[in-house]
Symmetry: C2
Subunit: 459 residues, 2 copies
């Protein structure tokens, strides 16, 4: 049984158009972390505002912030019906290392039923599903929707989401809604409809180590001048042991173990650890705390990772320099009930206590987001599971994600609403990596799932 909106979304020529529009959006290199792309962020915001206006949304506005703009619009003419707050982000991760992309990151290319581009799945493609679902509903409803809708899109998700966090905290009345819909997660396995009910928080830092006042020749000064890379190596090696256990005192004090029921459900998910190791991670062995499953380690245990170590000489060949300064980009993923401010202080104090002789250490906080458990005892989550079951023909599973979507915690805190995290990415979509992709069939199934979900909520 298909509604007119579902028929609209299943129409082949509409689907081709949806995909072409998405490609247009993917061609905009809206890399939020790089200042030189500031205008591209604005272009992406403008693209979305124009499209939301075109499909019939009202009060479309590009809201300036201290960083990249927000895009807001609404349609609030369904009195008595619930209000959904649709969220997405139009910024993307940097594309480097560029030489590992098979086709250029900002020239979207179809291969094997996928569309390859930076942002294809994270989150332009998934965000655009919301826009196209609203288009289908508005077209079928002759300009009306089955429920009230607010849309709020940001351009800083990949750099910590500071502006939207402020906006949400300062405008709870303007954003009044019954629940949020977020499509920035993945399905546990292909064809397995999935709702995400937990997220890790993120604390992103830099440790800056300074030794000499200028770069020095390692022949002349090696043996007398402190080496900031060596200092960072010493510090990093003391933050986590070889098994992946974090050594910061009191780090695990507030870590909450998932319920036996949740752990049991994770065990029954279709998961082959050897296949995951070989085909998804591709390393000789997996790492992490002994005694915990992969799901526990990536969903409900904290972690600490080094992302890059700028400084010194990184070109080809040999340069014999003792750099004056070196930096380590280090983040922690935290889990319920850890508190980001508290953890950052534990981390920062411990790092400072490890500063080796001759080296000055600064610990910088780049961004911070809380971990999150989503309430599932509400009719929105129930409607979502039913909608996805209709599209996929299978029961929806509940999982967590090891990633961080800080805005979900902000919605809970300031708007007092739960988020339905209905994502259509796949585990091998190469998020944050070269050759990011989105399975095109999931783009269409996502649009249809959202249409059916919003229809059920508004019924």
């Amino acid at each position: 049984m298909s509604s007119a909106a579902v028929t609209f979304a299943q129409d082949k020529s509409n689907q081709q158009r949806f995909l072409n529009e998405l490609k247009e959006l993917l061609r905009i290199p809206s890399v939020s972390t790089l200042p030189e792309h500031k205008d591209d962020l604005l272009r992406a915001a403008q693209f979305l505002a124009d499209e939301l206006k075109r499909i019939g949304m009202e009060n479309v506005e590009i809201i300036s912030t201290g960083g990249h703009p927000l895009v807001y619009c609404d349609w609030l003419k369904a009195p008595g019906k619930p209000t959904v707050l649709s969220y997405g982000h139009y910024d993307v991760q940097p594309p480097d290392p560029l030489d590992e992309w098979k086709t250029p990151p900002f020239e979207p290319t179809e291969r094997n039923g996928n569309i390859y581009a930076r942002g294809a799945v994270d989150d332009k493609g998934q965000m655009y599903m919301h826009v196209k679902a609203l288009e289908a509903l508005l077209a079928a409803g002759k300009g009306t929707l089955p429920l009230n809708v607010r849309v709020l899109l940001e351009g800083e998700e990949e750099v910590g989401g500071e502006s939207i966090a402020k906006f949400v905290a300062n405008n709870p009345a303007r954003l009044k809604a019954d629940f949020a819909l977020v499509s920035d997660t993945e399905m546990f396995a292909p064809d397995l409809p999935t709702l995400n009910v937990g997220l890790r928080g993120l604390i992103y830092t830099e440790i800056e180590a300074t030794g000499a006042k200028i770069d020095l020749h390692s022949g002349m000064y090696g043996g007398a001048a402190p080496n900031p890379f060596f200092a960072l190596a010493q510090i990093i090696s003391k933050l986590k042991d070889e098994n992946g256990k974090i050594l910061i005192p009191h780090f695990y004090d507030r870590v909450q173990r998932p319920s036996e029921q949740e752990l049991q459900a994770w065990k029954s998910l279709p998961f082959n650890e050897e296949h995951y190791r070989e085909h998804e991670v591709g390393s000789k062995e997996l790492t992490g705390e002994p005694g915990f499953s992969v799901q526990e380690r990536t969903w409900s245990r904290p972690t600490l990772e080094v992302h890059g170590m700028p400084g010194g000489f990184i070109g080809a060949g040999a340069k014999t320099v003792i750099p004056a300064k070196a930096t380590a980009k280090i983040s922690m993923r935290i889990v319920p009930n850890m508190n980001s401010e508290e953890v950052f202080k534990l981390y920062s104090d411990f790092v400072m206590s490890l500063a080796p002789k001759g080296i000055s250490i600064k610990v910088k906080l780049l961004s911070m987001g809380e971990p999150m458990i989503i309430r599932t005892d509400n009719r929105f989550v129930k409607a979502a599971t039913e909608a996805m079951k209709e599209v996929f023909g299978k029961d929806t599973v509940f999982i967590r994600s090891g990633g961080s979507i800080p805005i979900v915690a902000e919605f809970e805190k300031h708007l007092k609403i739960p988020s339905v995290m209905m994502g259509f990415g796949l585990p091998d979509d190469n998020l944050h990596a070269p050759n990011e992709k989105f399975h095109i069939a999931n783009f269409y199934r996502g649009i249809e799932s959202i249409i059916r979900f919003l229809q059920k909520v508004g019924a």
Copy 2:
């Protein structure tokens, strides 16, 4: 008492011209480690070949190699006189970090009696002293020289000097000489004439750590995927302890302690450790093995340094990636009687033994050069000390250098000749660092010292 050659070199208009010519050479960005500068290396070689021809040297030739070319010329018409092999290098270190230069690295600029540019002292400026000394001698001698001269210049000193090493090994007859003259070192203190009689060897390596097959999202995979930066930090922290003692088994087995006499001479050098720490190094504290003086630590003790750690994300802001691969550029300075091949094997075996779970490690050798003690019991060294004393009015001191000039070992091995290392750099000349400079007065005093030295040898 000044010879005609010295008078020529002291002439103000000649001196201004020498400096202008040097500036022209310094404007050529002959960075040997970066493939994009290949043509600049050739330009620098051509500049020198043209100049050597112009001043009256014979058999000038640009010799192609597998890498950057050599420049050769000679003048061999002084039968019965000794033959000097004049060596220098026209390649330079990369200029990064560019933003720390007060004036651009390839726009030579005069400030406070110094000339600032990449290569000013290492080694274009010092090499050019040889050329100008020969010009003065040829001008004063109406096209003749007081001794036989061969000149051999290379463009790969900063990348290991592979081509010249092969050329020297394969052409001992063509390079037959009684001693080599090398000006690629520094004076112990301003106005203190210095001969260098010892060099550390250099082993430059890369440790490449590979975990996953592609870059992974640290949210999704943090806790399960191995992190190559963490692996490198663990390895590096086990290579050297916090006091600077290298922990590679058997590393120190062949280290030779300098003679009591040499150690005593080092103690009487004008050296203020606190001034060195504050003004030359500029760190809170000095580091290095307890119980050894700064001179011992930098001249006669081996060291191990990290120069850079390419891989992952090094841009501004936050990227939450677990990189598939990361690299550490690590070099060791070795001292008599260590052997570079043996030490590389000890290092490589130890690094491989430290490979953490899930990580594949490769150890790459980029270049290798032997440590060196110069024989001082010959008349060339004696003539050099006298020449410098005449110019500086002070007794010449003998020191060692912590740096590496691999060619000196090659000259000893294949040509069986000692090198006179007569350098005119200063400790604060910022070798291999931003704002490299050469004190202009030392450029002129160097030219005059070399003239007087060659005259004495040929007398």
